[in-house]
């Protein structure tokens, strides 16, 4: 019977023989940012032993920062080579370029905001930055991969790096606990995702998103595909913290180092959303509508309601991030094109404001993250007007007050929902943002309308200041001139929805002026 097996195998073998040639050089261009990041990551590792741990925070940071910026540049380079690389593994299109830029930018800002933090918290710099860079590689791949297995691996890369980063404040029991919880639940969820991948493979015979979508569009969808979607949704839902898979979020955010929270609440989340978009829209996952509808409603409501009584700023922001995930999911219930563009814009805006907010929190928290309760923020408007002002700005953006990115993000999601006749969700969203206003407002009130409590506020160091400034500017930019970004998002969304065939439409950053 082995003969039989051989006979069956033969044609595929032959096929492989004639296709077995090294990948063309352009393929490497299509993963250039990942390459750059990895190189710099390794550079950090190599330099690590050469410099002594004590006063080398800055130098590591600088290397990492340069790496991130180089990767940004590389992304622009990559954008010139739209198309598929490595035998249907990754696709470079507007969509992936967008998320590359986003994720790498987040990493850059986080690195910048970590300079001072590491020194204050006495954290080993080399591994920290190395992990951030490598983790970014994973996120980038998640956004461009069109092969579920590759997605799975990339997901693991980003996850594992964040697991570790979460546990970086080694002296605090809370930190290691956070990392443990994150790790165990994370791998738990990943297993679900993987099982989903397996079943999808079983249902469609492939793990390539394009093939899957073709199969699923070809009619009579097997039940197995539904189950597979369910399991994948569980896995991804965990990553994007949608109810009831959000449970890890508050604990982890509270325990993890503030800048890392800034990273993991935006970077991996954005990447996960990218994957979700690919799975839901590009792979045209079956029976998704009510699933998303309900979980969106639950997510935003629970996030907002729970946040009302939080007293720890990090934890409060954790719940707020859950709520925002809910808003984002609303976009997923909308028509693919509208939804995709809205979601893309939202991730960007949310990243800008949230990273900034956590940068502020991280700076204010001071050594050992002593000051993270609302009481500590009493009268911050007096003691440190600038810090309070920027924080207020971010909070306003989170509330969704005009001229902040948060507002337009919400606006687009809302309009996408209404255009897709999702009146119910729209109303729920509106109600929720009204409720949400309350607890953000609480912070503002505490900062401006009450007397200081004598918490020492160290002057904002240059790097952190720069990071915060960048966030402010980006939030403001997205709030005042969102047109360009949105145009780009729409443009790439359109082609993203249309590209079921391997042939990718041409994208170039000239479309993003």
């Amino acid at each position: 019977m082995t003969i039989v097996a051989y006979a069956r195998l033969l044609p595929s073998l032959l096929a492989q023989v004639q296709t077995s040639m090294p990948p063309p050089g352009t393929d490497y261009m299509r993963i250039l940012p990942e390459l750059v990041l990895s190189i710099f990551g390794m550079l950090v590792m190599i330099v690590d032993p050469l410099l002594d741990e004590e006063d080398s925070h800055k130098s590591f940071g600088t290397i990492a920062l340069i790496g991130a910026l180089a990767a940004l540049a590389a992304t622009f380079w990559m954008a010139r080579y739209p198309g598929i690389a490595f035998w249907n593994m990754v696709r470079v299109d507007g969509f992936s370029v967008f998320f590359h830029l986003l994720v790498i930018a987040i990493a850059a800002v986080v690195i910048l905001s970590s300079f001072e933090y590491l020194r204050v918290q006495r954290i080993r710099a080399a591994e920290y930055y190395g992990l951030i860079l490598f983790g970014t590689v994973g996120m980038c791949l998640m956004s461009s991969a069109i092969e579920l297995v590759l997605i799975f691996i990339a997901l693991e890369i980003s996850s594992i790096s964040t697991y570790v980063l979460a546990g970086f404040r080694q002296r605090e029991a809370s930190s290691s606990e956070a990392s443990l919880k994150y790790f165990l639940l994370g791998s738990f969820a990943t297993a679900f995702f993987l099982y989903g991948v397996a079943l999808m493979f079983g249902a469609t015979g492939s793990t390539n998103i394009d093939v899957i979508s073709q199969v699923l569009r070809s009619g009579n969808v097997p039940v197995l595909a539904y189950v597979a979607t369910a399991l994948m949704f569980v896995g991804l839902g965990f990553k994007v913290a949608s109810v009831p898979f959000h449970v890890w979020t508050p604990d982890v955010y509270e325990g993890a180092p503030a800048p890392v929270v800034g990273l993991m609440s935006t970077g991996p989340k954005a990447a996960a959303f990218a994957v979700l978009l690919r799975v839901m829209f590009e792979a045209n996952a079956p029976g998704r509508f009510w699933l998303i509808w309900v979980s969106a409603a639950l997510t935003m409501t629970l996030g907002n309601v729970c946040a009302l009584v939080q007293n720890n700023v990090k934890r409060l922001l954790a719940y707020s991030s859950i709520a925002h995930a809910g808003y984002l999911l609303v976009a997923f219930a909308a028509q693919p094109e509208l939804g995709t563009s809205a979601a893309m814009f939202y991730t960007a805006a949310y990243a800008a404001m949230n990273v900034g907010a956590f940068a502020v929190v991280g700076h204010f928290a001071n050594a050992g993250e002593k000051y993270v309760t609302l009481e500590d923020y009493l009268g911050l408007g007096r003691t440190s007007p600038a810090l309070a002002a920027t924080f207020t700005f971010f909070l306003m953006s989170l509330i969704g007050i005009p001229i902040t990115g948060g507002f337009f993000a919400k606006l687009y999601v809302l309009s996408a929902a209404l255009k897709s006749n999702l009146g119910g969700l729209a109303i729920i969203l509106v109600m929720n943002s009204a409720v949400g206003a309350y607890y953000y407002l609480r912070i503002i009130v505490i900062m401006y309308m009450q007397e200081p409590r004598g918490v020492p506020v160290t002057p904002v160091p240059a790097a952190t200041g720069l990071a915060i400034a960048v966030c402010v500017l980006l939030t403001l930019y997205l709030g005042v001139l969102p047109g360009r970004v949105l145009d780009y998002a729409r443009h790439s969304a359109r082609q993203f929805v249309n590209e079921t065939a391997p042939a990718a439409a041409s994208v170039s950053l000239s479309a993003d002026p």
Binding site: I401, L414, A434, A437, Y438, L441, M449, D487
Partner: protein, 513 residues
């Protein structure tokens, strides 16, 4: 005087830019204050100069305003954001022009009145004040729904901060209450706006209005009621219409004088203006259909507000409730859909702005001297401070609608309009004439007449030059508006006629049924 008003527009060189000029002078000034070193006197002077400048500039508007029928004047229409196509589209008609002037008229007085009452964080105070002014003007000038919403929200933060930072007593509670009430209300408006955008693809007021009138909005019939309510709730909170008014007394009592003046003088008018411009302008059908219960609420507001204010022990609370009563007249006038009613409504807005603004200024002056608003703390004040008593009397008379003062014109027109719509409306509302006399004169008597009860009050100084400078304009305006209302009405009337045009056939239809 009216000759001056209808001056020919060809001498109007500033025409194209004047509106933006008026709108943004204060904001720019406010930002410039940031640069001034913290020498309070300079800051105050600068703020005064800026606000006066804005006032002078704004006078250009009525002088060069055509008096012909609708169509907006001084229009500017520049693309702000391409997708969604949001325009910086501003323009004024006979209604909004006066509200703009009212705003610019009151702000310098606010600056004067807060000269000594603000001690801490003077810089921030005046920055907030000027920013608030810009936002207010923007609300009245913007013709792009989005722009409108933007300014509408933008008024929120400075006001809340003014109350929360510079208020007294339960200022935080008041500020948060104010913020949340308005925020929640405006959320519904946002949803409605976005719906309109989703269906018409434009935020432009004029475009949408035409689209609705030509019936080229898909699914408008089903949605119109909800849209109407969406806008209505937002504005009803702002006006405030019973029973959404409870934020007002709190906010007023705790707010600093300038805050109260602008709050009563202008912010409330945002609500009535919105009702007139959007609820009536965009949804005449619904407005006509829902008028009865809205009018009932207005009547309740008139009588209820008056009765409650009759028994207030706190001067400011009393004035606040009287505002509820007065604004009831405005709503009544608007929804009577008669020329007289609408003219009156607009005129009451202005008159109330001047008179009640004046009352709050006077109350503030007293607070500066005695640090209380409790009426029982005073008595016999006419002896130590006769000038003050005189100004107070004039303002009170203006507010209770004595002929030849500004209060009367508006009330009379509104009442006659309401009476034409339905006699019972007019009759019930007219009782307000009695009530206003009751609560105002009783308050006046308790504060100023009789023997001086407490020794402290004997030593109170009479008005200072600065205070007189702040009060004279109020008194003069009250008189001029009462004697020569045509100056205002001649501009208001055409706009009102235009607003009424859709109702003539509606009314005929109603009669037909």
């Amino acid at each position: 005087m009216s000759a001056m008003i209808v001056a020919s527009p060809n001498m109007d060189v500033l025409g194209p830019i004047i509106l933006s000029l008026v709108t943004f002078i204060p904001a720019v000034g406010g930002l410039l204050i940031l640069l001034i070193p913290r020498r309070d006197r300079d800051i105050k002077l600068f703020a005064l100069v800026i606000s006066v400048l804005a006032f002078v500039a704004s006078l250009h508007l009525p002088v060069h305003l055509h008096r012909d029928l609708n169509s907006f004047k001084f229009e500017i229409d520049k693309v702000w954001i391409t997708t969604p196509n949001i325009h910086y589209h501003v323009g004024i008609d006979g209604i909004s022009v006066w509200l703009v002037v009212l705003t610019t008229f009151l702000t310098p007085l606010c600056v004067l009145i807060s000269w000594n009452s603000i001690h801490a964080r003077v810089k921030e105070f005046f920055i907030l004040l000027l920013l608030l002014e810009t936002a207010l003007i923007g609300v009245f000038t913007s013709l792009d729904l989005f722009l409108f919403y933007f300014f509408y929200e933008a008024t929120l933060i400075p006001m809340a901060l003014l109350v929360g930072m510079y208020g007294h007593g339960r200022k935080v509670y008041a500020a948060v209450k104010f913020f949340l009430f308005t925020m929640i209300g405006s959320m519904f408006m946002l949803a409605a706006i976005v719906w309109l955008y989703a269906k018409t693809g434009s935020f432009d007021f004029v475009v949408i209005q035409n689209a609705i009138r030509t019936g080229s909005v898909p699914g408008f019939e089903q949605a119109s009621l909800w849209l109407f309510l969406g806008f209505f709730i937002a504005f009803a909170v702002k006006v405030p219409i019973f029973p959404l008014h409870t934020w007002l007394p709190d906010a007023h009592v705790e707010a600093p004088t300038a805050g109260s003046v602008l709050l009563a003088g202008v912010l409330l008018k945002m609500g009535t203006y919105g009702l007139l411009r959007f609820n009536v302008g965009l949804f005449p059908e619904q407005a006509h259909r829902n008028a009865p219960w809205i009018i009932v609420l207005a009547l309740i507001g008139i009588i209820y507000g008056a009765l409650v204010s009759l028994v207030q022990p706190n001067m400011k609370k009393l004035i606040a409730y009287s505002s509820v009563s007065h604004l009831g007249f405005v709503v009544l006038g608007i929804f009577s859909f008669t020329a007289a009613g609408l003219n009156g409504a607009v005129f009451v807005m202005l008159a109330h702005g001047v008179a009640t603004g004046g009352l709050f200024m006077l109350a503030g002056i007293l607070y500066e001297r005695r640090h209380t608003y409790e009426i029982t703390e005073f008595g016999g004040l006419a002896t130590p401070m006769p000038k003050y008593a005189a100004f107070f009397l004039v303002t009170v008379l203006a507010s209770l609608g004595l002929p030849l003062l500004n209060g009367f014109i508006g009330e009379f027109l509104v009442l006659s309009g309401a009476f034409q719509a339905r006699p019972v409306y007019g009759i019930l509302a007219a009782t307000g004439v009695i009530w206003s006399a009751c609560y105002l004169l009783w308050m006046y008597q308790r504060v100023f007449f009789g023997q001086v009860k407490y020794e402290v009050n004997n030593t109170l100084p009479d008005l200072s030059l600065r205070e007189k400078a702040a009060l004279w304009p109020i008194a003069v305006a009250a008189l001029v508006m009462g004697v020569a209302p045509l100056v205002w009405l001649s501009a208001i009337d055409p706009a009102v006629q235009a607003a009424l045009s859709p109702f003539t056939q509606l009314a005929s239809k109603a009669v037909g049924q």
